[in-house]
Amino acid sequence: MPTLDVKNLVLWYRTRKGPVHAVDSISFALEPGQTIALVGESGSGKTSTANAILRLLPKNVLRYDGEVEFDGQNVMELTDEEFRRNVRWRGISMVFQGAMNALNPAVRVGFQVAEPLMVHYDVDRDEAADQALDVLRKVGLPADIARRYPHELSGGMKQRVVIAMSLILKPKVVILDEPTSALDVMTQTNIINLLKDLKNTDRLSYIFITHDLGLASELADLVGIMYAGELIEVGPADGVFVRPKHPYTGKLLASVPRLRSEEAPDFIPGAPPDLTAPPPGCRFHLRCPVSFEKCGWSAEEFIAQMDLLQSSGEAKDKVPSIASMSAKSPTSLLIKPGANGSVSDFVQKLNAFVAATSEKNRFLKSIESVQGKTKSVEVKLYETTPPPIVGTEWRAACWLVTEGAA
């Protein structure tokens, strides 16, 4: 039985621009002693996932549902008070992003580490401090550190303190939210080794949130790749890192710079999508190097891409001249040919252009049919839905994978 089983977890925020789909239907399971690395760009919903699991919600929550089974119990059904008492820190604890800010500057380290103990159990100050000393020793800190204030410690020491704090109630799952992001490489390695030791001795399960693929591969048994609020690929680390199924995972791995390599690291063009209005179909299709018919181009996206193509210098001559474009429905648009060109001429030119450049300008692949009308050309696009996440041990949400499996 998995320690933690997350099913269709959803967390949307309410903003003035509209709902933000920060976490959209995420599922994964974690066995005791297993580590899942949640990897993704900034703003892909990694930290929101962690907050959703620990129910640390801001005030502007719009939608929060799904199932989080911890030790066989669906903790989503608990009241806030029950959750605070029984799950938070006692079952699932967290190591915060940026240790230097996660410590109360006015409290000595020893008492800081003991805080959760005093909050959850009726333990007196001195006894709690004694237990804190044990945990501090466990994370490799000398005992005299307990009497110091956070600002007297180095970054690595503070990080160890924060880890000690997360361990004091002996939780089964620890969420590590970028635990090493502000540390130098040597300290990072030390912390990762410490986390590995703790995992082996205490059979801890980690949810390791990072954007550092190198560190993820060090620690993780499972890898979850997040993009635009969705978990697009989950699988065993040795599989996902070696032979990724989702094109995004592939591009992500290719973008990691390597020491002693002449090759310039690859990058993904464009920016992550706006989560208030996530793209239809696969959320990655706008930036995907291998997108095709089913990936979900909408009429607006098509028009925007066409405009971009027209204004870019190199393709100017080859693009059939266009007077104006307008979306008719999400999957169809009307194009008025420019430069007095006839409709039939334009259809021909467009078909030729698509045939010639659709490998490069992948949005052109979404054209299902081109029909000449009296004064304009109607372009119909393929209708589509978001790709389902398929597979058992190793799942990915990509039409390529689905089609391949089918």
């Binding site: 620990l54 640390l56 605070r84 008492r85 938070r88 820190w89 604890s93 967290m94 915060f96 992003q97 940026g98 230097m100 800010n101 996660a102 410590l103 109360n104 500057p105 006015a106 409290v107 805080e115 959760p116 909050v119 959850h120 204030y149 600002h151 924060v162 704090m165 109630l169």
Partner: protein
């Protein structure tokens, strides 16, 4: 984190003490605290409790500057000389003879004592106190002053009447006590003038006509009475008639009382005070009170009042501000709107009204000030700081490990706000000291406890001319107020400099 403000109260205090203004503030406050601790030991509270009791201060000269002010005038100013009653050391020599002639008892009592007078100025006053006891017949009471030049001037001669108000009869003993005070009783003091006039005329210093011109008394009362202490102690020549030209006759003076009684029970005792023209370190006020006592006691009173008021209001306001910022919602709204309301209440007029109606004690004034200061500007400042602090990650961390809201407020948020609070306390203390001084100045302070403001109020109440002539009455209490407020203001600025990174030097 860019330039970090120091963490915790101790660190903030230590760093503040290291700045220049902090160093000055620490020295000044150290002095004040030392004073506040020592004053109750040096001047017992019992003395201060007698502040409003005029009898306590009758041996002090009236409205005289401090002793050291003679440095400015260049003249040796007389100090007060007290000749205590017989029986005390340095007191009057007491000789009593009782005898019987033809079945009639007589008693003669002589009280005599001399004092050396070497100052360059005349005493401000001379007071003589005498008590006579007698049987059924009134005795004859007389008094003389013998001057260094051998002249003897009779001061007064009196036969106490049984019906006089200053006669009291003690039962069951058949002894009547008569007390006489010069110059408090009109009759004997007028006798002194008459006697002096007679003495001067007989020595050809003046004539009756000239005396009448100089000291007119058309209705029997002197409109501008002669200064007896000048005439009695000046060199015997015509210049003595004008106090501005009179020269002091230095040397040994002697005061003598004689009682001729007609019974065997008659007895007498006397006391004399020759008042100086300077007194103590600070001088005296119009009620002969030693201003030093009030000035010294002003320090602990001002410190206690200012600190207690500032601590109470700022801490309560901070707590409410923090609660308001941390819990938000309806609590926030309630606290903030109450603060708005309190901010527009005119506290001073209300206090004046209360002062007029109830004459409140210092403690009650403090209580009223605290009641009117439970919310206010500090509530708003604290709320804005808390709104910032509550977004910090360690608060979220605390929430995540299940700390309750109250625990986060007291263990996480308030310790962060405290250093700022202490800067505010330091800056609020002067406000309270000024407020108390204002109330006392208006005569609405605690009447039983002298404060600096009250001294200023008394000085002002004695007439506006006071500010030009009686500088010591105004200068020292004002200096006390300024010294204390500046000390706290400097401490506040030092805190501010440490806690506000933008004000940091370098």
């Amino acid at each position: 984190m860019a330039i970090s403000a120091p963490i915790g109260l101790k660190a903030a205090f230590l760093e503040a003490a290291r700045t220049k203004s902090g160093l000055a503030a620490t020295a000044m406050l150290g002095f004040l605290i030392l004073l506040a601790v020592l004053v109750p030991l040096l001047v017992p509270f019992d003395v201060v409790r007698q502040w409003s009791n005029p009898g306590q201060w009758s041996d002090n000269p009236k409205l005289v500057p401090p002793e050291w002010s003679e440095v400015f005038t260049g003249k040796r100013q007389p100090r007060t000389v007290i000749i205590p009653p017989a029986g005390q050391s340095g007191g009057f020599d007491h000789v009593r003879v009782s005898f019987e002639v033809q079945g009639q008892n007589y008693t003669i009592v002589v009280l005599k004592q001399s004092f050396d007078f070497q100052a360059d100025a005349f005493p401000s006053e001379i007071s003589l106190y005498m008590t006579t006891m007698f049987g059924s017949k009134s005795p004859l009471v007389r008094s003389w002053l013998t001057r260094p030049d051998g002249q003897e001037v009779q001061l007064f001669e009196d036969t106490p009447s049984l019906r006089a108000s200053n006669v009291s009869q003690f039962r069951p003993a058949d002894v009547i006590t008569y007390s006489l005070t010069y110059p408090s009783f009109k009759d004997p003091s007028y006798q002194v003038y008459a006697n002096v006039k007679q003495w001067l005329i007989s020595n050809n210093v003046t004539t009756s006509g000239e005396w009448g011109e100089l000291f007119p008394s058309p209705t029997g009362f002197y409109s501008n009475p002669p200064k007896a202490q000048v005439l009695l102690m000046a060199q015997l020549n015509h210049s003595m008639l004008d106090p501005r030209t009179a020269q002091v006759l230095k040397g040994k003076y002697s005061i003598r009382f004689e009682v001729d009684g007609f019974s065997s029970v008659d007895d007498a005792n006397a006391r004399a005070v020759v008042f100086g023209t300077v007194y103590g370190l600070i001088g005296t006020d119009d009620q002969r009170r030693d201003l030093l006592i009030a000035l010294l006691w002003g320090a602990p009173v001002a410190l206690a009042f200012g600190l207690a008021g500032a601590l109470a209001t700022v801490l309560i306001q901070t707590l409410l501000g923090a609660i308001s910022g941390w819990y938000g919602g309806a609590v926030d709204e309630l606290v903030q709107r109450t603060a708005d309301f309190y901010l527009i209440i005119p506290t001073l007029p209300i206090l004046i009204l209360i002062g007029i109606l109830y004459r409140p004690s210092l403690i009650l004034i403090l209580f009223i000030l605290v009641v009117f200061g439970v919310v206010g500007a500090t509530t708003k400042v604290t709320r804005s700081i808390v709104l910032q602090v509550k977004e910090e990650q360690f608060i979220e961390a605390a929430r995540s490990y299940g700390a309750s809201r109250g625990r986060i407020l007291f263990r996480y948020i308030l310790p962060r706000v405290m250093p700022y609070t202490f800067a505010l306390i330091a800056l609020t203390v002067p406000a309270f000291i000024f407020l108390e001084a204002s109330l006392s100045f208006l005569g609405l302070g605690d009447p039983n406890l002298p404060t600096w403001g009250q001294l200023l109020g008394n000085a002002y109440g004695a007439g506006p001319a006071i500010f030009y002539t009686f500088w010591w009455w105004v200068f020292f209490p004002a200096a006390g107020i300024i010294f204390t407020t500046v000390a706290f203001a400097l401490l506040g600025y030092a805190f501010d400099k440490v806690l506000n990174p933008r004000l940091r030097e370098q």
